[in-house]
C-alpha cells in the first residue's frame, strides 16, 4: 500500500472541505454516490471550455477532439475492465439502471422465451429486479432468487437445483446494503456449466476493487460512473462483442442507424447500435478521468483500505455499542466491502441520520433500493455508512460520536 495515502486522496476532493453545522463534513455515503476528485471535475470543465462539440459526424477540429475524447473514454473503460474484445463491447448508458434495461429489453427480448429462468439473488438492487419483472409482462419468465443466509451471504446450498434451466444468472458483485462480496468467478463457471450466461452488477465493486473480465469470464457487466469517483449521468453496459452483435436495438433515433427511409430503418452495427442520440460526452470525459485517478491509486490499495476501515469500524461498533447496534452484514471475515448497514435498537434509521447530520455526518437511511432484502431480514430500513478511498478512521470516530449521541438522545 506504499503508493496509497488516504489523507492525500482526501486533499484531492473539493467537497470534503465543506463544513456542516460548524463541523467538517464526514462523508459516509459513497455507496450511494462518491465524491469526485478535482481531476474529474477539471477534466469536464476543460472539455466544456475548450473542445465541446457534437461527436462522430464532424470534420472540424473540436468535433474531432470531442470524438477522440469520447472514444478514448470507451477504450479506457475497456482497458480498466480488461475486457475481452476491447472497446467494441463497451456501451455508454446514462446509469447502471439503463444498462440493466438494455440487458433485459434487448438481449432478454431476443433470447428469452416463455418458461425460461432468470436467476437473481435476494440481495439485488431494484435495478436488477424491476427490468426482469417488466420483461415478464410480455414473456412468461420464471424469475428465481438465490436466498441469503442468516450470515448475510448467498445461500448456495441449493444452487445446483436453482440453476436448472437457467438462461441468465444476473447477480451483484457486492451488495450495496450488506457489503457482502459474492463469489462471482465461481458462480459464473457454475452457471456456464449449466448453459446460462452471466451478468454482473459491478456498481459497488468497480470503484473499490480490481475488475478483470478475462479472469472473471462473465458475459455482461453494468455499473455507474457516479459511484466510482466519476460524474452523474453516465453508466456502462459491457458485453462480449459477439453477443453485442446479436442484440436487437433498444432506444431508437439518430446515431444508432445505418439508414432511415420513410418505410423503415436499418440499425448500425456494434456499440453504435445502442447509443441513440447525442451521447454523454462530457460525462465520458469525466469517467475517463475517474478511471485514471483510480488506476493511480491502485484498486488493490483501495480495496485493502476499505477493508481495514471496515474491520476497524466493525470491531469498534461491536465494542462500544455491543447489543445496541447490530451490523446488517457479514462481520466475521474479510470478504466484504466498505458498506456498513446499522440497525440501532429503538432508534429509527431516519432519526439516526438526523442526529448524525447535526455533527456533519452523512449516512443514508432507508431501504437502499433493495426491498426484497430488507423484507428478508424483517427490516423497513437501515442507516448505512459507506467508505470511499478518501475515508479515514477519523470518519469512523465521528460516526461513533454521532451514534452515541443518537442513543443518548432517544434513550
Amino acid at each position: 500500500m506504499s503508493s496509497f495515502n488516504a489523507v492525500r486522496v482526501r486533499a484531492d476532493i473539493p467537497a470534503l472541505t465543506r463544513h456542516i453545522n460548524g463541523r467538517p463534513i464526514t462523508y459516509l455515503d459513497s455507496g450511494a454516490s462518491s465524491l469526485p476528485p478535482r481531476s474529474v471535475i477539471e477534466a469536464m470543465d476543460e472539455y466544456y471550455r475548450l473542445r465541446h462539440a457534437n461527436v462522430h459526424r464532424g470534420v472540424y477540429q473540436t468535433a474531432n477532439e470531442a470524438t477522440d475524447a469520447y472514444e478514448g473514454a470507451r477504450a479506457a473503460v475497456a482497458q480498466f475492465l480488461n475486457a475481452p474484445g476491447g472497446a467494441e463491447g463497451v456501451v455508454f448508458t446514462k446509469n447502471c439502471t439503463e444498462a440493466f434495461n438494455l440487458l433485459a429489453k434487448s438481449w432478454g427480448v431476443a433470447n428469452l422465451k416463455d418458461g425460461d429462468v432468470v436467476l437473481l439473488s435476494e440481495m439485488e438492487h431494484h435495478a436488477n429486479i424491476v427490468p426482469w419483472f417488466q420483461l415478464r409482462e410480455s414473456i412468461a419468465l420464471d424469475i428465481r432468487f438465490i436466498p441469503v443466509t442468516d450470515d448475510y451471504e448467498l445461500d448456495l446450498s441449493n444452487i445446483q437445483e436453482l440453476l436448472q434451466g437457467v438462461k441468465l444468472l444476473s447477480l451483484t458483485a457486492m451488495s450495496n446494503v450488506l457489503g457482502t462480496i459474492n463469489p462471482v468467478k465461481d458462480l459464473a463457471a457454475l452457471a456456464h456449466a449449466h448453459g446460462a450466461l452471466v451478468a454482473i452488477d459491478a456498481s459497488q465493486s468497480v470503484g473499490h476493487m480490481p475488475t478483470n473480465l478475462v479472469d472473471l469470464d462473465i458475459d455482461f457487466m453494468m455499473f455507474s460512473g457516479h459511484k466510482m469517483l466519476g460524474p452523474t449521468g453516465i453508466g456502462v453496459f459491457w458485453t462480449r462483442p459477439e453477443i453485442l452483435a446479436t442484440m436487437p436495438p433498444f432506444l431508437g433515433g439518430g446515431g444508432m442507424i445505418a439508414d432511415v427511409r420513410t418505410d423503415g430503418y436499418t440499425p448500425a452495427t456494434g456499440f453504435t447500435r445502442f447509443e441513440a442520440g447525442t451521447p454523454m460526452i462530457a460525462e465520458a470525459v469525466g469517467l475517463h478521468a475517474a478511471i485514471r485517478y483510480l488506476e493511480g491509486l491502485g484498486l488493490d490499495n483501495v480495496h485493502a483500505h476499505d477493508q481495514s476501515l471496515t474491520v476497524d469500524a466493525i470491531s469498534r461498533i461491536n465494542h462500544q455499542f455491543s447489543g445496541r447496534v447490530r451490523i446488517i452484514g457479514p462481520t466475521a471475515h474479510a470478504q466484504r466491502g466498505g458498506v456498513l448497514s446499522l440497525d440501532v435498537e429503538g432508534v429509527h434509521p431516519h432519526d439516526i441520520a438526523q442526529v448524525l447530520d447535526e455533527i456533519g455526518v452523512c449516512v443514508r437511511p432507508g431501504h437502499h433500493c433493495a426491498k426484497p432484502l430488507m423484507r428478508r431480514f424483517g427490516l423497513a430500513a437501515t442507516a448505512r455508512a459507506s467508505f470511499g478511498p478518501y475515508s479515514l478512521t477519523l470518519d469512523t470516530d465521528v460516526l461513533l460520536e454521532g451514534l452515541q449521541r443518537a442513543i443518548t438522545f432517544f434513550g
Binding site: N21, P349, H350, D351, E358, G366, M374, A380, G411
Partner: protein
C-alpha cells in the same frame, strides 16, 4: 435551542416513546394503510366514526420518531371530535407543514394563534424546517384524510 432540540421537542419524544392509541380496531371500524415509499415507513389507521364523531381511533405500524409521534399526536387530537372539527385540525396541521423550509414567524400574531389552537400538535412545527422530514410528519394525517374520505 439547537436544531435537533427544535425538531425533537420533549412532547415528540414522549409520544414516540409512549405512543397513544396504539393497536387495532375490529370491523366495522375502517382500516386505511399509508406508506412512504422513500423510507419504508408504514402505518395503518383504524377509525370508528359514529354519528359524525370519531368515536375511536387506533394506529399500528412502524417508522421514525417523527412519523410515530405525529400519528400518536394526531390520534389524540381527533379522538372524540366531530368530523367538522377533525377536518379543521387537519387543514390547520397541513398548513403548518406546508410552510416548507420556512421558520414560522412567531412574532406574527396570526401564526401564534394557529399554533395555540393546535395545542400539543404545535410541537411538530419544528419539522417544517427539515423538508425531508415533512413527509414523515404528514404520513399519518394523509392516511387519516384518506380513511375519512373512504368512510
Amino acid at each position: 435551542m439547537s436544531n435537533l432540540e427544535e425538531l425533537y421537542k420533549e412532547i415528540i419524544l414522549d409520544h414516540y416513546r409512549t405512543p397513544r392509541n396504539r393497536g387495532e380496531l375490529p370491523p366495522p371500524a375502517s382500516k386505511t394503510e399509508g406508506f412512504n415509499p422513500l423510507c419504508g415507513d408504514e402505518l395503518t389507521v383504524y377509525l370508528d366514526v359514529t354519528d359524525g364523531v370519531v368515536s375511536d381511533i387506533k394506529i399500528t405500524g412502524h417508522g421514525c420518531s417523527i412519523s410515530q409521534a405525529s400519528s400518536s399526536l394526531m390520534s389524540v387530537a381527533v379522538k372524540g371530535k366531530t368530523l367538522a372539527e377533525v377536518s379543521e385540525v387537519l387543514s390547520k396541521f397541513k398548513n403548518m407543514m406546508t410552510l416548507e423550509g420556512e421558520v414560522v414567524d412567531l412574532n406574527d400574531p396570526s401564526n401564534r394563534e394557529v399554533l395555540r389552537s393546535l395545542g400539543e400538535l404545535a410541537a411538530l412545527q419544528g419539522v417544517a424546517k427539515f423538508p425531508v422530514r415533512i413527509k414523515c410528519a404528514t404520513l399519518a394525517w394523509n392516511t387519516l384524510s384518506q380513511g375519512l374520505e373512504e368512510n
